[in-house]
């Protein structure tokens, strides 16, 4: 139950002249009007869904790759856990890995919960606790995750606070279990990590719903506007304000101040990472520089006059890097204070003076950042006029000549890119290899850190890119937020029976092994094959940073609807919730599975019927770990790039027959291993592309749908590896599953493998029995 406290306060209370402000919070028995009967597991505690987790983990047991032989988490150690040895506390290396994964997932979930708490707190202060959650006429199921997990149907911003209270309590319990001498079984650590992932999902939904309603961002708009993206879109002749991070609030005040003062055309506001995406959801005048991976390069380029940082995924040396260019920096968030003086109590004019003198400050009153940033940008841009931040090309050559060719740059490059070779070539005034490097480099700067001659390799690379790559202007569709109920109604049946061959969600960070281009190429492959392609965050930007032969980005070529062949940018990292949300809504809107407090049923439905796969090609952070683990708990498989192996844990099946119950017949039976893995790495883009059709297969596929999926599986395999998939026989259940177009070829292959059709195919597969 949740209500406006004013309506229920007694005269006695009024007499005492209390300032009343608040919501009523009940323990666990939350009573609401009956929009749906309450299911078995509202507000699940740490062990509530353990049985479900054990079902998943039995089929997809954790696969561990320990980064370290030791544990050094408490001073009882350090302990050597290698070769079967136990630590001083009794822990073995498997549990230790699972424990580290749990900690990572807790950090990720805390990140999103903290961010969402900040947004909700802020919006309640501005709009009131009663401000309604209304996502428009096309979206009735406004919060599928909250409904399913908590049993709450949030109607106001105040309702979201209750959900966050729950999230924070769960995170605290979960993190606690990582303490020395708590959980002792790896399987229970994994169940806890899955719980943390689910909480992460929930926290993201709260945050994104809050900002959508609070800032009037697109509410499931298929035709969200096209936004300018890329280095080349920023007009360097104007003062430039750069916002980095994930929290849209300070940027929002900047945009407002510009509008109020008719400065829209005179000042450039651009962003990096999710702040950028969310800023364009708020105001399409903002521009997106690019994903995280372009942060150091862009700052080094010196284009920005004022750098605003908020929270998450910001380079921690941003202050040093900003100051080197002569720009000024404003930190705006308690999460990242950078040791700066807190000047929040000053007036805006005093702040401007302070920053002009000190070049950086912490301002926790985001409202003031609008004026301060804009006015500063005018002054600083004059100050910095003609300031050169990058070396000239001739200087690049001179610098390159200092290179000793020791080769350590290549060795410390996370992707072993050929830095040394670019350097050697540049000595001759040739830059082809530096141009190649620019295209794929993440800009982490480890080559610089290692260089014995202290060469500014990132700056050199940036200069070459700037000089030789002319077309750095792209487009991205603004984040549309949730999927409309009507879209779900349209695609529900074809997805569940497999006639739409799959939903491919490209998400996560930009720690790509070969630059952004591969993400776009994956998207293109599956758009052309009429999959539904969904994107968010840095992956959504990566897709936009590539053009085809026609010089167009995929966003310009494909529509934004959640439909076969649609390219749907949901928004920022927070907006990932709408991808899980769409899967949940298929269960609910199409198949009438009740959501309220009914996690297990919903997840079981998704696992067996909804052919969706997440691809986090550049997954890097603890947030990405939490997101992937959360998605896994809902029964959605995930592919991560090769760096994802360093998360230490994947969920891999044995690739043998799976066991399910056919609810229709009551029979427990063996089926083909679909979906094959729950989270797995791919080494290359080609491997990833070939895995996608396979991981979109589901036990519930109809013969037509399965045939379609098999068609694509064979087709991409032949395209990228020049051969039939070596495990194809596993996925052809009966002859009906064989696509007509390639029937002979497949039959020949099957014969060679000694394939036999399965006698039975389940009608209503479930793993709950």
């Amino acid at each position: 139950m949740e209500g406006d406290i004013k309506s229920m306060s007694s005269p006695l209370l009024k007499l005492k002249n209390f300032k009343i402000k608040g919501t009523i919070k009940f323990g666990e028995e939350v009573e609401e009007e009956d929009w749906e009967p309450m299911g078995p597991t509202p507000m699940p505690k740490v062990p509530t869904l353990r049985k479900w987790d054990f079902r998943l983990l039995k089929r997809y047991p954790p696969f561990y790759m320990p980064i370290c032989d030791m544990c050094c988490l408490c001073t009882f150690g350090k302990c050597d856990l290698s070769r079967g040895k136990k630590g001083a506390c009794g822990l073995d290396i498997k549990s230790q890995q699972a424990r580290i994964v749990l900690i990572a997932c807790c950090i990720g979930a805390a990140c999103h919960a903290g961010h969402s708490r900040h947004l909700v707190h802020y919006l309640i202060e501005k709009l009131g606790r009663d401000y309604p959650i209304n996502l428009g006429n096309n979206i009735d199921v406004e919060a599928p995750i909250a409904r399913t997990v908590t049993g709450i149907k949030p109607k106001t911003l105040g309702d979201l606070e209750k959900i966050l209270d729950y999230c924070e309590e769960q995170i605290t319990h979960l993190l606690s279990a990582a303490h020395t001498g708590q959980e002792g079984a790896y399987i229970d650590f994994e169940s806890k990590a899955l719980h943390a992932g689910m909480i992460d999902d929930l926290a993201r939904e709260v945050g994104d719903i809050a900002q959508i309603v609070g800032f009037n961002m697109p509410k499931g708009d298929e035709d969200a506007p096209l936004i300018e993206l890329g280095f080349g879109t920023i007009d360097k002749n104007k003062p430039v304000i750069l916002c980095i991070g994930h929290n849209v609030v300070p940027g929002r005040y900047i945009m407002d101040y510009l509008e109020e003062n008719d400065l829209d055309d005179k000042i450039e506001v651009c962003g990096i990472c999710c702040t950028a995406i969310d800023l364009t959801r708020y105001n399409e005048g903002a521009k997106i520089v690019g994903p995280l991976s372009r942060q150091l390069m862009f700052v080094r380029s010196g284009v920005a006059d004022v750098v605003i940082v908020d929270e998450q995924c910001i380079r921690t040396d941003i202050l040093e890097e900003t100051l080197k260019t002569g720009a000024v920096l404003i930190a705006t968030n308690e999460k990242m204070c950078l040791g700066l003086e807190d000047i929040s109590h000053l007036s805006e004019d005093e702040m401007i003076g302070y920053i002009l003198r000190n070049r950086a400050a912490l301002i926790l009153d985001e409202e003031k950042v609008g004026k301060v940033a804009v006015e500063l940008s005018k002054i600083i841009s004059k100050e910095r006029k003609d300031k050169k931040c990058l070396p000239d090309l001739s200087e690049v050559v001179e610098l390159a000549k200092k290179c000793t060719e020791c080769g350590w740059c290549n060795r410390v490059c996370p992707n072993s890119f050929e830095v040394k070779e670019a350097m050697i070539e540049a000595k001759q005034g040739k830059f082809d290899k530096f141009v190649e490097l620019y295209k794929v480099c993440y800009g982490c700067g480890r080559c610089e850190s290692e260089c014995e001659r202290d060469l500014p390799i990132v700056s050199m690379t940036t200069k070459v890119g700037e000089a030789f790559i002319k077309d750095l202007k792209f487009k991205i569709r603004a984040g549309r937020g949730p999927i409309q109920d009507v879209e779900i109604r349209r695609v529900g049946a074809p997805i569940v029976f497999g006639d739409i061959p799959g939903v491919v969600a490209l998400v996560g960070c930009s720690n790509h092994p070969n630059g952004e281009e591969e993400v776009a190429k994956i998207a293109k492959e599956f758009l052309e094959r009429k999959y539904i392609v969904v994107a968010s965050g840095c992956a959504a930007m990566a897709i936009g940073m590539w053009k085809d032969e026609d010089g167009k980005t995929l966003y310009e070529k494909y529509g934004g609807s959640f439909e076969s062949g649609g390219l749907v940018n949901v928004g920022s990292c927070l907006s990932n919730c709408h991808i899980t949300g769409a899967a949940i809504k298929i269960a609910n809107i199409f198949a009438k599975v009740p959501l309220r407090g009914n996690f297990e049923q919903v997840a079981d439905y998704i696992l067996n019927r909804v052919g969706a796969v997440g691809i986090a090609w550049g997954a890097m952070s603890q947030k990405a770990a939490a997101i992937a683990t959360g998605v896994n708990r809902w029964g959605i498989p995930v592919i991560v790039g090769p760096h994802g192996a360093k998360y230490r844990r994947l969920y891999l099946s044995d690739r043998e027959d799976f066991e399910i119950l056919d609810k229709r017949t009551g029979e427990i039976m063996k089926i083909e291993p679909t979906p094959e893995h729950l989270i797995v790495t791919a080494e290359t883009m080609e491997e990833c592309i070939c895995m996608i059709p396979k991981l979109c297969m589901r036990p519930n596929d109809g013969p037509k749908g399965r045939a379609m999926k098999i068609y694509h599986y064979v087709s991409v395999y032949e395209k990228y590896f020049g051969t039939m998939p070596p495990d194809l026989e596993k996925f052809v259940r009966t002859e009906q599953d064989i696509p007509f177009m390639i029937k002979d070829k497949v039959m020949d292959y099957l014969k060679e493998k000694g394939w036999k059709p399965r006698e039975k195919i389940p009608k209503e597969p479930t793993i709950i029995y």
Binding site: F63, M65, R411
Partner: protein, 144 residues
């Protein structure tokens, strides 16, 4: 070139690192193995791939024929007593090998021209031409 620093220096797993193996010893190991296998990655130089094709050992090509982690899971079951690796993205193999290091008794050997700390045995860091010679020596002794 330093021989035994992991090629990417951070890729070791702290306490136990691979022993360096010479081609001569490796040939003995393979000869004595009951059921050796070679995992060939997609980052292999074409010339080396050609030389290797003559090596008389069962091979799996990754990712073309199997995902690397599926291979690791398969190898952990113990069917093969000796597993050689070549041509896989350095940091990816380094990480994947830790699974076998901790959870199996299969002897792992990397025959890339890079020192790979997480295998049981590894070639040292070496130049490309030295590497070709070494591979040729292997194939010479164990070719078809």
């Amino acid at each position: 070139m330093d021989r035994t620093t992991p090629y990417q220096p951070t890729s070791g797993t702290n306490l136990n690192h691979a022993d360096i193996v010479s081609p001569t010893i490796l040939i003995q190991m393979i000869k004595r193995s009951k059921n050796p296998i070679l995992i060939v990655g997609c980052k292999l130089d074409k010339d080396i791939e050609e030389v290797l094709s003559k090596l008389n050992i069962k091979k799996i090509y990754t990712p073309k024929e199997m995902n690397l982690l599926d291979i690791m899971k398969y190898l952990a079951k113990g069917e093969h007593d000796l597993a050689l690796f070549i041509g896989i993205t350095y940091y990816y193999l380094a990480q994947a090998l830790t699974h076998l290091k901790h959870f199996s008794s299969v002897i792992t050997v990397t025959i890339d021209p890079f020192y790979h700390p997480n295998a049981c045995y590894s070639f040292p860091n070496m130049k490309k031409d030295e590497h070709i010679d070494v591979i040729k020596k292997l194939v010479g002794a164990l070719g078809k």
